[in-house]
Symmetry: C2
Subunit: 396 residues, 2 copies
């Protein structure tokens, strides 16, 4: 009984995304890595912008004492100031260094924020389909996730969220551009969400925080803008990372920004810092803090992903697949032909095409493709997609 | 009520070490940074070895696709293999890549391990004085710490630990070289501990894991050897980091090694990997994984710290202070003159000397000095130490 009973349950229900990643490794070992078309993981294939390498080399050459040592748990003051400056423009709310905490990626930031907000038994409302790690994150801190449906177009259903808010609700979490749907929630929806949260907070007698997970903020297409939650609701916390912006997901660097007008904002920031330490993150990696401070506002060119989106979306639509055209991020969420997502992704695996079943996002009957892959992979995959859908004629 | 009630309690009881770090920043701002003698934080003042910079530059120049991308959550296979090879020699037990998980520092590794082992209500036994973050780490996963006393010389009291083991005990945690005492537990004690744990596991009907937190393993003096817990007890997990070995605490890079003969060893490793993901660490920072893989077995020269230890210990003993001479790490744990650790560290603050009270390690009446500071700081501090002890004649 080395592993706890709780952890054993987690192992059994382990992430579909990571499970597919493992299947991919097995198939690659068996058939050769060039044979597998792996759409399972949101691991950007686009290399970091050239300015990243320049900044990294400059930071590595810098002669600074204790350069790899501890700094305040919140991050270097000058890094926080640089991030605050950029986010002020981006979010339309003036932030200072004291409103920003550097984090170990968005996932690390989210955990520090949930530890800050949640008492045991508290709830966090999320909208389906959703990044299922949220459930584990809430559970890490004694909380649980309560799920609201989205609309048919995967836009937020503000009334459905409202119906899930009660006296145990500590926060509502939104993720736009969305993983897995690629949906960007429009400004009007975010405004409605803010107004609803203000009313719901009064109704339930506690401030319900809005936690906005925005790692894909800069990966948007066709001139779509990601509205600012800060403009819509003061009790908001924005969490983002440089993982997708700069193609650095392995480096674990991101940040948390607390709206300065949030209730107890200063205490919330102090608690996020303390939570960062208590959870064992301690601080965001030192070197990468200095690097991203020099690259505020820089992002990989989303046009690189748009080309892939267009090719994949158009080709699959031509083959009879059904999906909403993504407005951002690099995911395509499609109806599973035949209706059984597991059966369908197994049919795709037979074609050496890897996808994640919709149940991995709380929505069976769909599947997700991460199109952050080389265009050659997309081309190579199309015959497999054609053959797979042919096996499920009812799904056409 | 933005911040949870639980977190508010944590904020009130926030780390004494970090509180002193903040006091230091305030005093430095008021009196000038050159005036404050800061012994509060274990932030190595010794720069990383030259080979670190060479390896870092080489890794930064390497042209590898997806170099900053995701890798398996356990770390790069080749990095795990390099670490396993080195630890096999160091711990005297043959390890393979599959026994090692790369972590975000020792703190990140410890949290992944405790999440793996603890069910809600489970207990972890630690020996006082101890690194108080352990309490928060156990609580993160629904567990709690149970404290056993040490012997007068701060060596482990194996019988006292045994007395604390019951059916809720998931693990015993040891930390050698010890923070805050600098004690290295001798091989015979570790052997006795292993034998006791085997018997206690039978008595309570569950395998009690031995978790060994060893970030200071290579910072030892006078030929002292840190014995291997793997040699003493198969149900052991070693957690270490490169923070102190290579003076990189800000980079958050470490590792977890599970004894291959531990009960359910493979499942334990899989659970540590899953816990790493679920807690939001996701993986150890990519770039630093590649760097430390090239530097296995390298460590800063402990002689640099030994010089400081000798100067500080001898000078303070000459002034009438009482402490055990540290065998490793870079901490000196002294009796507080007058017996009240808070009163005494305040007297030191009046002299612009920063220390951490013993209650920050579960042992009031003592105080800790981190002597990972420049020798000039030690020299400058001595007059303050002389004046402070003079105010507490009863303590002499």
């Amino acid at each position: 009984m080395g592993v706890s009973a709780k952890m054993k349950r987690s192992l059994e229900g382990t992430s579909w995304i990571r499970r597919m990643f493992e299947v991919g490794a097995e198939l690659a070992a068996k058939h050769g890595p060039g044979k597998v078309c792996d759409f399972s993981l949101g691991n950007p294939d686009v290399e970091p912008p050239a300015a990243f390498q320049t900044a990294l080399e400059a930071v590595v050459r810098e002669r600074v004492p204790h350069k790899h040592g501890y700094m305040p748990n919140a991050g270097y003051p000058e890094v926080r100031a640089a991030v605050a400056g950029h986010l002020s423009t981006e979010l339309g709310t003036t932030l200072s260094a004291g409103d920003v905490v550097m984090s170990c990626g968005a996932a690390g930031g989210l955990n520090a924020v949930l530890k800050t907000l949640l008492d045991p038994g508290d709830e966090v409302v999320a909208s389906v389909p959703y990044f299922m790690e949220y459930g584990g994150y809430a559970d890490n801190h004694g909380g649980s996730l309560v799920l609201a449906p989205t609309r048919g177009d995967f836009n937020l259903d503000v009334a459905a969220i409202e119906a899930k808010i009660g006296p145990r609700t500590a926060a509502v979490i939104v993720n736009s551009p969305n993983n897995p749907t690629g949906r960007v929630y429009p400004e009007r929806t975010i405004r409605d969400l803010g107004a609803m949260l203000a009313a719901a907070s009064r109704r339930v007698g506690r401030t319900v925080y809005l936690v906005s997970d925005e790692p894909y903020r800069h990966v948007v297409y066709d001139g779509v803008k990601v509205p600012s939650v800060f403009a819509a609701y003061p009790h908001s916390i924005v969490i983002t990372s440089y993982s997708k912006d700069l193609s650095l997901p392995g480096e674990r660097i991101g940040c948390v920004a607390v709206h300065p007008g949030a209730e107890d904002a200063k205490t919330v920031v102090a608690a996020v810092v303390t939570a960062t330490r208590m959870l064992g993150f301690v601080n965001a990696p030192a070197l990468m803090q200095r690097v991203v401070a020099r690259l505020q506002g820089l992002s990989v060119d989303p046009a690189l992903y748009r080309t892939r989106r267009d090719r994949l979306y158009d080709a699959l639509a031509g083959l009879g697949y059904t999906a909403a055209r993504p407005e951002g991020a690099f995911y395509l969420f499609l109806k599973a032909p035949g209706g059984d997502d597991l059966a369908f992704i197994r049919a795709l695996q037979d074609e050496l095409v890897l996808a994640v079943p919709g149940r991995g996002f709380g929505m069976p009957g769909y599947f997700r493709l991460a199109y952050c892959v080389d265009e050659a992979v997309i081309e190579r995959s199309l015959e497999g997609f054609r053959r797979a859908i042919a096996k499920f004629p009812a799904g056409r």
